[in-house]
């Protein structure tokens, strides 16, 4: 499959699937970090080593497509334009580190983009599996299957004392990072996030914003993940994430109920104002757009706003990023041009919803 397939749509086809608690949990991600014996880590290796690793990892995965019942497209990062790399980063299919690497590296993507294997990022191999909603075990099983296939053919760097050896000491041990992406507008509005962040960090987990630069939680989308990878088994890491996520879901639901109970009118007004802004504004900076999209999505989830598809948040959060905007515009845009083009795309996206609604009414 050509790379265009992965660049054209802001929404990956795996996102269309249904997962548990998908009104709050947008997706579950599992990442395994692995390295091969006999080669230095990417920070210290030579181009010759990079090339050999890329070849053997890519070949192993491509050969195993029958066994895995999964077709991979192999994309060499060096063959891809800078803008296309940025788009892949904005879809979270590759990391900025891989996009900017001067050495040979690749990403192997499954057709539905739920599986991505990065070669020669910070580690030789990064297996990543994405599932919609809360599906921690399902996503892990998928990653584990890929790990098993690679392990059969390639010699992993492993130490009895320290486990899987990784470039960064924060990944040593299981090399497992399990995370859930959550939309938590009610907890944010009711100012409970800081407290939750503190409690979670005491439990060996981390909460951070997922979109935007730094730790700002654009669109009230947070990522909760395990921090500890050493001295804790895979099962325990997954079980802890599952249980913490369920508790946060519970808190978010309570906060949503409280908002409805105590300030239903103010809330409805605010959510509809955001819908109005998205539908009519001519200039939209990223943070305002993210805030409005989060509001509209909350309105949909709470049944206050009807006839708009829930995918609006996932989809628009991706396509309103600079790389995607410029890909759609077909030209490079400066910041203020981007803000205008972003507003235009968001308006068009909402008009599309309107048309579909009108069509539905006609046929009734």
């Amino acid at each position: 499959m050509s790379i265009e397939h992965f660049l054209d749509n802001s929404i990956s086809s795996w996102m269309a699937g249904e997962g548990k608690h998908s009104d709050i949990v947008m997706s579950t991600r599992i990442r395994l970090a692995r390295n091969l014996n006999g080669y230095r880590f990417p920070l210290a290796f030579t181009e010759d080593e990079a090339h050999k690793i890329d070849q053997s990892v890519s070949a192993t995965l491509l050969d195993a497509s029958d066994e895995l019942q999964m077709k991979f497209s192999s994309i060499h990062i060096k063959d891809v334009s800078e803008l296309s790399r940025q788009v892949l980063v904005e879809k979270h299919l590759i990391s900025p580190k891989l996009a900017n690497s001067p050495m040979t590296g690749s990403v192997l993507l499954s057709d539905d983009e739920s599986v991505s294997v990065m070669v020669n990022e910070e580690d030789h191999i990064r297996i990543q599996c994405l599932f919609p909603g809360l599906q921690v075990q399902e996503a892990y099983d998928q990653a584990d299957e890929l790990d098993r296939v690679l392990d059969k053919e390639l010699p992993y760097a492993f130490d009895e004392q320290f486990g899987y050896l990784t470039s960064c000491p924060t990944n040593t041990g299981t090399g497992l990072r399990a995370s859930v992406m959550m939309h938590l507008p009610a907890l944010t509005m009711t100012k409970q996030m800081n407290r939750i962040v503190t409690i979670i960090s005491r439990l060996g987990m981390v909460v951070r914003g997922i979109y935007g630069e730094g730790s700002e939680a654009l669109g009230n989308v947070y990522q909760v993940s395990n921090q500890t990878t050493l001295g804790k088994s895979e099962e325990d890491i997954l079980a802890d994430l599952q249980s913490i996520t369920e508790q946060i879901i519970q808190k978010e639901r309570e906060a949503r109920d409280a908002l409805l109970k105590h300030s239903a009118n103010t809330l409805e007004d605010r959510l509809y104002r955001s819908l109005g802004t998205l539908s009519f504004a001519r200039i939209m900076a990223t943070d305002e757009a993210a805030r409005c999209l989060s509001d509209v999505r909350l309105g949909i989830d709470m049944g206050l706003i009807e006839d708009i598809d829930v995918s609006i948040l996932n989809e628009c959060m991706v396509f309103m990023q600079p790389g995607f905007l410029q890909k759609y515009a077909g030209t490079s845009l400066n910041t203020s041009e981007r803000d205008m083009f972003r507003a235009k795309l968001l308006r068009e996206r909402l008009q599309k919803e309107e048309k579909q609604k009108a069509k539905g009414e006609e046929s009734e």
Binding site: F41, Q161, G163, G173
Partner: protein, 181 residues
């Protein structure tokens, strides 16, 4: 009551401000309350970088004489040529062999990063991994066996016991299995 800010609309929202230990009550209409005290707070926290964390730790605990400290920092990995100082500066290892070269120092680093843990628990690759998986399977069958005995399904329990014996013999021969799948 009229809104203290616009002095037009009726006040519906009470905001309590704490200033120098004094509690002040303000009464606003919904419009002014929204503009003066926005609903929305952003989560901001500067993450402490790993590199910072590692060097902070190193400077804090290293109170030995200078000479000794320098000697310690001179340990070099013979595979990639990185010194332990470089590892601490970058916050990254140069290669898998660094773990062997710096082994005595690492438990202290890991303790701080992984909640006090210094030893891996969990999955392992290759033959070692198979062995661990086998042990896990034996444990789970054993607990099934216990359950079977508790519910007096002895026939079932005997079957499970034979299964455990089978698996245990595989384990003692080093996990040599004819059926690789």
């Amino acid at each position: 009551m009229i809104c203290e800010n616009c002095k037009q609309r009726p006040a519906k929202v009470t905001v309590t401000q704490v200033h120098n230990g004094e509690h002040l009550e303000r009464h606003y209409c919904e419009v002014c309350a929204n503009s003066l005290h926005p609903f929305y707070v952003e989560y901001k926290q500067d993450p402490l970088s790993l590199h910072q964390l590692l060097s902070n730790w190193f400077s804090q605990t290293e109170q030995q004489p200078m000479q000794q400290k320098q000697q310690k920092n001179m340990i070099v990995c013979d595979e990639c040529g990185w010194s332990i100082q470089r590892f601490l500066d970058e916050g990254k290892f140069g290669c898998a062999n660094c773990y062997t070269s710096f082994r005595p120092q690492l438990p202290n680093v890991f303790k701080r990063l992984h909640n006090g843990n210094t030893t891996h628990i969990g999955k392992a690759p290759g033959a070692l991994g198979e062995k661990i998986a086998l042990k896990k399977r034996i444990d789970s069958i054993r607990s099934q066996m216990k359950e079977a005995i508790d519910t007096e399904s002895f026939e079932e329990a005997a079957k499970l016991r034979d299964e455990v014996r089978d698996l245990e013999s595989q384990l003692s021969t080093g996990g040599d299995r004819t059926d690789v799948n």
